[in-house]
Amino acid sequence: MLQVQGANGSGKTILLRTLCGFMMPATGEIRWCGQSIHELGDAFYAEMVYLGHLNAIKDELNALENLRISAGLAGCKVDDKQVIAALRRLGLRGRETLPVKVLSQGQRRRVALARLLLSNAPLWILDEPLTALDVGAVGLMQELIGEHLLNNGMVIYTTHQPLEVVGVATRWLALS
C-alpha cells in the first residue's frame, strides 16, 4: 500500500495519471512486472483499476446499469447478483434502481467505489477515494482496502485524510 501525500498542486493527481499511462513521463519509464506499461498496453490495463476525481457514472442510468456497463468495459462479466451484493456492501441497499441523478454526492461516490468490488485487478490506483464520504464509508473503505491487500492486491492512493489499515505497513511518498 502506497500513500501519496503532498500539498494541493504538488502533483499527486498528475503522478497517478502518469502511472495509468494518460501522460508520458518526461524522463524514465513506468514498468509493470518489469515491462514498460506502454509496451504492455492492454495487458497492463487488464490488471489495474483507476478511480479518479470524476466518478465516471452516468446520471441518467441507475446504479445497477452503471456498474454493469463499467464492469463490462473493464472486461469482467458480472451478473446482477454480484452487482447488487457490491452495492449493498457499500450501503446502497434499496438505491440500486434509482437514477444516479437523485443520489447525493457521497452516494454517487459509493457507486463509483463499488466498481472496485467487481474487479479482479490486483492494482488499485485511487485518487482521493474518500472525497464526499461520511465516517462510516471511510471505515468501510479501510476494510475494503485491507481485504484487497490480504488477497495480494496493491493499492496506490492519494488522500488528505489518514487511512489506517490494521496489520498492513503503509509506504508513504511525500511530494513537495
Binding site: 492492454d42 470524476l54 465516471a56 452516468k58 446520471d59 441518467e60 456497463i69 463490462g72 468495459l73 473493464a74
Partner: protein, 234 residues
C-alpha cells in the same frame, strides 16, 4: 474473469449510448425537428414553383442534414469527457478503435438514421418523384455515416475547448463538402446511380471510415491526445 469479445464490446457501448439517448430524448428530437424545420422553410420561402422546388430538393435536404448533424456532434464525446467515462474508456483493455467505432455507430443511429427516415416525407413537400425519393434515401444512407465519421474527428479534437460546438462546425463543414457534392449531385439531376459510381462511393466510404477509426483510436490515446491538442492550439 471472462474478457469481452470485440463484438461484445461494440454492442455494449452501442446499447449504452442508445439507452442514454432514450433517456435524453430532447437531444435527439432537437436534431430531427431542426432538420424538419429547415427543409420546410424552403418551399415557404421560394413559393409554389414546382419545377424549381423539384430541382433544388436534394440540395436542400442534404444541406439541412449536414447542418442538423452538426448540432449533435458536440455531444458525441463531451458528456463522457465531463463525467470521466471517457477516461475509463481509455483504460479498457481492448482496442480503443472498437470503442470509437461503437460510439460513432451509436451517434449515427441516434442522429443520422432519423434524418434518413424523415427525408422522404420532407421530399414530398418538394414534389419529388418516387424514384428520386429512393435515390435520396440511398444517398443519405451512404452519406450520413460519413458525416458522423468526419464529425467524430472534429468532436474529438475540440473536446474540452471553450466554444467547442461552433469550432467543430468550422472544422468539419469544409471536410463534408465532397460528401455533399456526391450525395446531392446523385440524388439530383438524373435521379439514377451510375453503375460505375457506386463502387467509388463505397470505396471512398470504406477508406474514409478506416482511416477515421484508426486515427480516432490513436487520437485520444494519452500521449497523442495532448500532442494533437497542442497542434490545434498553435
Amino acid at each position: 474473469m471472462n474478457k469481452l469479445s470485440l463484438l461484445g464490446l461494440l454492442s455494449l457501448v452501442i446499447r449504452r449510448d442508445l439507452v442514454l439517448a432514450m433517456r435524453r430524448r430532447a437531444d435527439v428530437l432537437t436534431t430531427l425537428i431542426f432538420f424538419v424545420i429547415v427543409v420546410s422553410l424552403f418551399p415557404l420561402g421560394v413559393g409554389p414553383e414546382m419545377d424549381m422546388l423539384r430541382k433544388m430538393a436534394p440540395g436542400v435536404v442534404w444541406v439541412a442534414a449536414l447542418l442538423a448533424s452538426m448540432l449533435s456532434l458536440g455531444r458525441m464525446f463531451s458528456a463522457d469527457y465531463l463525467d470521466g467515462t471517457l477516461e475509463q474508456m481509455m483504460l479498457v483493455p481492448q482496442s480503443l478503435s472498437v470503442l470509437v467505432l461503437a460510439k460513432i455507430l451509436a451517434h449515427w443511429m441516434v442522429s443520422g438514421l432519423p434524418l434518413v427516415i424523415m427525408a422522404p416525407v420532407l421530399g414530398l413537400q418538394f414534389d419529388m418523384p418516387t424514384q428520386a425519393l429512393w435515390v435520396l434515401i440511398a444517398a443519405l444512407l451512404l452519406g450520413t455515416p460519413i458525416l458522423s465519421m468526419i464529425g467524430a474527428v472534429g468532436a474529438a479534437l475540440t473536446l474540452g475547448l471553450r466554444g467547442g460546438g461552433a469550432l467543430v462546425s468550422l472544422l468539419v463543414l469544409p471536410l463534408c463538402i465532397p460528401v455533399l457534392v456526391f450525395g446531392a449531385g446523385r440524388s439530383g439531376s438524373r435521379c439514377k446511380w451510375h453503375k460505375r459510381e457506386l463502387p467509388l462511393i463505397v470505396a471512398r466510404r470504406a477508406t474514409g471510415d478506416g482511416i477515421g477509426i484508426y486515427a480516432m483510436g490513436y487520437g485520444p490515446r494519452p500521449a497523442y491526445f495532448d500532442r494533437i491538442k497542442h497542434i490545434v492550439y498553435f
